[in-house]
Symmetry: C3
Subunit: 332 residues, 3 copies
Amino acid sequence: MSPLTSFKLSELANILEAELDGNPDIEIFGLSSLDLASEKDISFISRESFIPQLQSTNAAAIICSKALSDHYKGSKLISDDPYLLYAKCSSLFKSKPLQNPGISKLASVDSSASVADSAVISNFVSVSKNSIIEDDVILMPGVFIGNDTVVRKGTIIHSNASIYESIEIGEGCIIHSGVVIGSDGLGFAKESNQWVKIEHLGKVLIGNNVELGSNTTIDRGSVGDTVLGDNIKIDNLVHIAHNVSIGSGSAIAANSAIAGSTKIGKNCTLAGCTALVDNIQIVDEVHITAKSLITKSIKESGIYSSGTPFMKNSDWKKNAVGFKKLHKLSKL
Amino acid sequence: MSPLTSFKLSELANILEAELDGNPDIEIFGLSSLDLASEKDISFISRESFIPQLQSTNAAAIICSKALSDHYKGSKLISDDPYLLYAKCSSLFKSKPLQNPGISKLASVDSSASVADSAVISNFVSVSKNSIIEDDVILMPGVFIGNDTVVRKGTIIHSNASIYESIEIGEGCIIHSGVVIGSDGLGFAKESNQWVKIEHLGKVLIGNNVELGSNTTIDRGSVGDTVLGDNIKIDNLVHIAHNVSIGSGSAIAANSAIAGSTKIGKNCTLAGCTALVDNIQIVDEVHITAKSLITKSIKESGIYSSGTPFMKNSDWKKNAVGFKKLHKLSKL
Amino acid sequence: MSPLTSFKLSELANILEAELDGNPDIEIFGLSSLDLASEKDISFISRESFIPQLQSTNAAAIICSKALSDHYKGSKLISDDPYLLYAKCSSLFKSKPLQNPGISKLASVDSSASVADSAVISNFVSVSKNSIIEDDVILMPGVFIGNDTVVRKGTIIHSNASIYESIEIGEGCIIHSGVVIGSDGLGFAKESNQWVKIEHLGKVLIGNNVELGSNTTIDRGSVGDTVLGDNIKIDNLVHIAHNVSIGSGSAIAANSAIAGSTKIGKNCTLAGCTALVDNIQIVDEVHITAKSLITKSIKESGIYSSGTPFMKNSDWKKNAVGFKKLHKLSKL
């Protein structure tokens, strides 16, 4: 239903700065995978395991590396990094519906808040006292912005996300639906067997070009702040506790959890379902495999893992019994 | 506060197609567990471990199997599958408040959207451009529906769920509160140590009679779509990544995560907190035990597991030390 | 931007019932960590590992134990439990903006609902039929309250939380954004390879002084109720299934999941990412370490664990291979 965008293959080569091998005049209307592409689409190959699909694809052209280009007779764009070329190409075919700037009549903006003329404030959005919404920000329906919060240029916050008071979100961020930023951490002292709440006096500070996946939650600092650097990419349903800090360029996959006051370096990657306990430090360039639990600081970059391999349950049961005897076995 | 529903035991036997043994005229006002049932309730037993409770229950009647019927002297409905009978019985006693069809004055429906006369559009709901809301759909307060999205007959979407653009949701689905469908996946290429976003051009396609638990998130496809078949049941806080496909009849318990482009067959069950890495295939009728990590394709149906048994922490520490020496031990 | 609160050190000593050692007239404007505190802040030390920071802190005064007081020459408040004193002190410096009581013109309250005059009903809140909102309750923007639900005195529910019908929430609770209470559990019977839904006829009953972290989900009972006692603290993204019961004083850290009908005793603690399978009982005073899976009832209080230690991936791979041979090794 969106108006169709199209490019000649020569235009794509030009925009994407790729080498063109084939018919420059082919009209390309979309981007798709090798198996799903129609004769109007460009496709791409970034792994050797997909070579067999090069024979059967209907794509009008493909994006590939020099090394793989011999496997495909049709028109192609050749690049040292075809996956990067694919990423850049994807943005050309993404239709982003125009949103009219301005404040919906069904929104609520406090009179003390500052909203740029070019910002979009949708239905059922609340912008609270003294908050600042900068140029080209888009707040989708149902977003809540607490008091004294700043959302910088060009950031989009998707529907039903909740941003508490005194939060700073940088430029060009993408915050997906249901994200919560600024809730209190799990901080309590005990007195006569009752929990006494530690009030969270800190903020959450988020850098530029950060993307947060849907329903991810980021707690505010207790004393001091929770801090995310620039260019951080976090997936869905990730928990970032109070006073965590994450270095720029790091990425965290879905359902992971980082406990309180833990510090993650730059350009780290955490695969899905990883967990880091509280009060540890992880240096730059650390990579953690799926579902690992990290219980101590990591002082050397590299790849780290915990857990066991999976197997048939009948085999697993026998090995699991063995695990219970490991303290004896290891004395052999 | 809801009006009371009641059935004679003979009516229940008739509706549920069960064998009646006892007083057909007992009036039944509700359904409850053996320990909580009052003299006005029917109860049920589906596991032998509950036999002792048959002596002490106050229930007016019970649902049981032929095999267990000798353990209970009172009135009963007998069935080959008492758990199934209990499920069917539960729907008789569920009060579903009437909702008046129509669009709330506090909702926002774009003029280009199509909303059936019998649909319920509650307060603070946004229905965006060109979306289609079919007969008997209920959108509870705070639901967001993006552009070009279709919600088919009889589906209910609970409060504060967010459905992005170009999503298709089938007939008779139940989408619980806080669910997000159609957010972008964690897809990025790297250029000079900066992440370059892969725009997600695909959709999410959901079949009929699918139930999604609260705060579950389903990402849209990057190229190609994320696809859920019919009759799929997903629990709370589950992550379904971009381009995942799930076969009909499969069920996934809470806090599980399925990574990008992984394909799950039909009639599979994943227990809670399981994780599947990206780009693998799981055949039909695979069952995965709680908290397992599946790192490779599974080509044979059956039960699969990973992890270790739990034990006292003092014992665990000794065995955990042994795990570190396993590479030496296994050379013995 | 909030008005500044300040206390003389002598006032703090008085309010917090602590021993003062130093200058009683120092004016304290805030509370911060040793490394971040300015000359206007009080700070605290609760672990010996922070002793080196006592030399370099700019804090105006510190909270410490008798044992550690010799390490700091400046003014201090001395306490047997400095962490508890810190917790109490934090509440003095938390600015809680005044909210005007009353019902926003942009909210929707059913005429059959009862809302106390002192309650705050914010923008885009729905309060449904026969619900009761007691004194001093605050419902932040976008909160949904279903039919026949009760929210007792002094409870705050943060933005975009969803509370289904027939839920009872006690006094003085804090429910963070995106929380869902009362959704259906994953309960189905099978008939000819199709799932048959078990309707959830029960409620969720929540005691007093309970705190629920953001995007946590609590399912209603199928038959019988889901029950949380008093003084329970639950972190973000936690799943509490249908018919779970949790004893008073227990705490559950982020991304944990408790499966259906499981019962947790009093004063238990579950670290992050733990999972408990369905239909088990955990006695009082049980503590479970991070990412453990508990598959059987625990009848003795203590600390329990599962999983393996983490290590470099290259080492882990070798040990993981050994795990597969454990059933043979354990026969040695």
